[in-house]
Symmetry: D2
Subunit: 371 residues, 4 copies
């Protein structure tokens, strides 16, 4: 009915690739998007892999050549879910081709490279979006609204964390995650709590971190008896100060036995407080003072909290992780078609990466680092 | 790549229609289904409505004539999400056409009609599935496995409930939900806790219910000053006994201020216990005795609990309500293609409805009713 | 400094006896009581036992003769913590002697006997108090205030339970608790949820119960191979209607594996709701509607909730079970000295017992029973 | 019956004085203590105050002269609950008199003075105990046992906090708590999480703190319009390293709106994890891996966890804050009579204070400080 087609090209078909594909398939049945995404091409390491993945995920064609995908005239949006080290060349190719670029986090392996990507995208004027999907949660948007409205008064403190257990075993092997370039718990998942802290409270201006390698060696591959040294952090604790003067702390930990997705924070204000944990992603806790009735109220996601209502007209029907990606893609499509700018864009992702590196530097020098 | 197409025809485009559409769009990117669902036709109250909805939800065509949809040779599976009173004629038409029938709950407005539908489907040998989607939760499947394995010993007690607040206001208006034919809290949502109780513990053989109308009148429509009597229950409490001898109680309540989706239960055994609540749908609580360590363990959904792994390879990425419908559709497609029988089929839905009516009867007669 | 001494005589030195003794020792350092309790005498099954217990619990003297204790002129208040079958003769003796009577629950083994005790006490005009200590919780008092003030609107539903696991093993032996006279889960702990329901919502006027014996036999004593039939209930579910028209359900269960003190309830109103569970005894959950902020607020006990402030001037310092008994004793001492009437008195305890028996009767007759 | 009397002298009758008095009154009815505490004397700022408090709290006599109390031959144990600045002279007087010294925390206003007190006490060989009562919780003892047994493997991380809201208002006035000597959130409540961290994981060897004054001025007294600068911290975040190599973080915050007693921590090990929060003081969360059953188990305090059984023979009857003080006093009496050494003694309290000061120093110098 007049909606333009939007050609989607996906690079990569791992966990995140599948997640992107699912979001593009679902989005227009849930959101009133300005164009209809068409799953045109999927690129993977080989033509055979790509073809099988295209078939499984509903793309029209597969290709072993990601440059061909990017430059194909049928492609409007390039989804990059390839290994981190490839983000930069792929993004530059897409920017040069004038395509909208949708890239998984981290944007790149170093802040310097991320900055080059950012400047190229800005110079070219292309739309960019980086997949910090946890920010799409209606409860996070609600939290930002509450903070912004002054409902909890002036913010006085922050305490945040992203802790998981996927590297908690000393026998969890090396992978791209333990690569000195861009690897480690802080870069891998600490970036989520940093991006969320920035989303809620603004830029972080000073940091003092303590990055720790818990397991000095790991197997070179799953089950191997051959072990190699680990040079990245398994756990980082950091003191942080925001530009607005608020002080606090954060932790990144991928060896946190018992935690599967403890992306959590508490924000304290002079008149109230907020607390959130991704393990209960459909809730936001809001504390307010009232004589005899003071306490944390457990606000449950519902139609009062956009865009929850796109998924369901009634409260109590919880959103899941994949739904966050659908929201992200809806924002991407709107921005691609000239609607409101979606974030985090490349520049914001660069700022996150710069914060990660400042914490790493402060840990090495054992001193505070200003950003 | 050799997978057959499966033509999907959807009747209705309200909340549940959108939910079905989304599931059919998503399923083959997440599950290895034996055929590729093709969204062929959508029927709605008028051709215009149907055409708009088809466009919005990704169907090829719309029609104002549900009989045409059912009998169209391109349609293999008929999804019925129309008002309850239409379920029977639509199902019979589809059964006569030899189509697989996927019907929303309740199966019909009375158990007698549901039984006719069941017998017709069984005589025709068509595949049927009724949308008790909460049963698809990996945590519910885990609960059944735990009970079946004897891990909590012999079951000794049951306490269940489905409570929501969508009719908690005396000004919530009349609708199909308050129709004497098939309406009321017990039929509308009590059917969920009954189906889940049956899924976990088997048939209920005796009941004694207490059905209550809390608000004697309601507006005839939203905001109207004209009020009409309510003849269905807002809240029902019931004593139940299962065929296996286990006794317990259940409640259905759509005027439960403060509850959005309290589909919850506790099952007590001689060696352990289980507890679940849909408001924390990614958790199952399992109690086990161990000296000094006794307590409820909060098991969080993860790849150990199929089919969670179809959505995500790591724990901590929660499923949402819409994902349950995707699981349902995956089971439907498998059954349609000759795979394992999916449940609940029409007969099971009839048994649920029969239990609902037995509770209603017992409330009227103020005495126990055997099923 | 002018405060009169109040002579305390304690009968029994088991769990509850120790609990009474501790409360009488502590109370005047925490509450501004009108008299100073003096621990004069303790009676037990033999002089030797009594003497040892008196010494351990800080009483001046022990005696093997409870009648001597009751009639001793130094005794003003008689605490009865002896086996249930002895409550009646002890209470009558104390009433005849004009003493204040503080009796553990249940008041007696049958409602008929409890009524005789009540009428005797009322005729004599003595102060009576029965140890339903869970009612002393500041959070329960807060709940009653909230209900009474109309803050949650008109009450529309009740759901309550007292579940524990102390008889959950089929090898838990017979004891006074399984005696046909006054025994069973409903009488033993169901009386707590009944008393609390009455405290919050008023009298129960109609009941339909289902009393179940889960384990047909139990050992005659701990570890014995000799087993005898059980004739009392292990678990009872009941439908209830209050005099004010509110309907609901309750459960008593001492075989509830996984529960240690699930004395819990939810009360639903037209404008809000309340929920409480003794396993989190320092919290009350209050639901209120507010656009975008609806949710249950977890109110934590603090100085805003009398008499919490007697124990601590700041919130966050939780009360424990024994503190409830101190509150009870403070109310008893005040009533003894002519202050406000403390409840539940004998009559209220009789009403609870009468409700227990009505539920038992309704289970036998399989029909509703009016009170 | 042959138990010796133990003469108790209490200095101070504020919140903690009342708490000590209550514990001494209760302890021998709950614990089998080796001597019977006799509440002999209470000292306060004036004879009149002391006399009134003695009467209210059950002491035989009051005095305005704390030296007289300490040197009275009837006094065996001196309880010091006076303002912090008086702890040192009182303790020295008591040490010189050979009395057992039971002192509230913090031990003194500076670590240097605390060390003098410690050395004097050790030279004199007197028994000392400092009131870090949160360590007495059976759940904390259980946590230490679990860690010590290796049940959660090797400890890899620590995250702790003590947050309350009693100074969260900018209009909360100055008091001894804001005195530059020994004041501030870190000293006042941060000492609790430090003592608990040491109890569980051993000494802290390196720190880097960030002490913040949130409100630059506060009223000189409650309600005064006259405001004076605040020079102590309202909130401190710190990075810590333990002697055993474990790294982590901690926070002290008395301006934490929404928190009443968030003395909480999570300890991560290679095979499991533990989590605790004082706002649910009767629970310990223990995580263990088990295929399909992984999760945190909520262990509830009960007779399996000494000395819970002294208070109650059954689980589910929660302990409260005042009960912790009773446990502390039971340990003190045992130590006084030659039984097992109770902790924390003066030396341990000095070590806590030294850690506090190291964090303060590190915040001033903006660098790590080794202890």
């Amino acid at each position: 009915m007049g909606k333009p087609d939007i050609g989607i090209g996906l690079i990569g078909s791992g966990f995140m690739g599948r997640c992107h594909a699912n979001a593009f398939r679902s989005v227009s049945g849930l959101f009133d998007v300005p164009g209809e995404p068409r799953l045109r091409m999927l690129a993977d390491a080989s033509p055979a892999l790509a073809s099988a993945a295209a078939d499984a995920l509903g793309f029209e064609r597969g290709t072993g050549d990601w440059k061909a995908l990017i430059n194909d005239p049928s492609i409007d949006i390039v989804s990059i879910t390839a290994p981190n080290v490839l983000h930069a060349p792929m993004a530059h190719e897409a920017i040069n081709a004038g395509k909208t670029v949708y890239c998984e986090k981290p944007l790149s392996t170093t802040a310097a490279i991320a900055l080059e990507m950012t400047e190229a995208a800005e110079a070219a004027g292309v739309v960019t979006l980086v997949g910090f999907n946890f920010l799409r949660n209606p409860m996070i948007r609600l939290a930002r609204d509450i903070i912004g409205s002054g409902e909890i008064g002036e913010v006085t403190g922050f305490r945040g964390r992203h802790a998981e257990n996927y590297m908690a075993s000393p026998d969890a092997p090396h992978s791209f995650r333990t690569d000195p370039q861009g690897g480690g718990a802080l870069a891998d998942i600490g970036s989520h709590i940093i991006s969320m802290a920035r989303f809620l409270l603004g830029p972080i201006s000073q940091v003092q971190g303590d990055c720790r390698t818990i397991f000095p060696t790991r197997p070179v591959s799953q089950g191997s008896a051959d072990r190699k040294p680990v040079v990245v952090d398994d756990m980082t604790h950091a003191l942080v100060q925001f530009e607005n003067g608020v002080a606090g702390s954060l932790e990144a930990n991928w060896a946190a036995t018992g935690r599967t997705m403890d992306l959590s924070w508490e924000i304290t204000g002079t008149k109230g407080a907020l607390a959130f944990g991704q393990e209960s992603m459909n809730e936001l806790l809001l504390y307010r003072d009232e004589k005899g009735r003071s306490g944390y109220t457990r606000i449950e996601a519902g139609p009062d909290h956009p865009p929850y209502g796109q998924f369901c007209p009634a409260p109590g029907h919880h959103l899941g992780f994949n739904d966050l990606k659908v929201i992200e893609v809806a924002q991407l499509l709107a921005a691609h078609c000239g609607g409101p700018k979606a974030g985090p864009d490349f520049r914001e992702a660069y700022e996150v990466q710069r914060t990660v590196e400042a914490i790493q530097t402060s840990s090495q020098t054992r001193s505070w680092v200003a950003l």
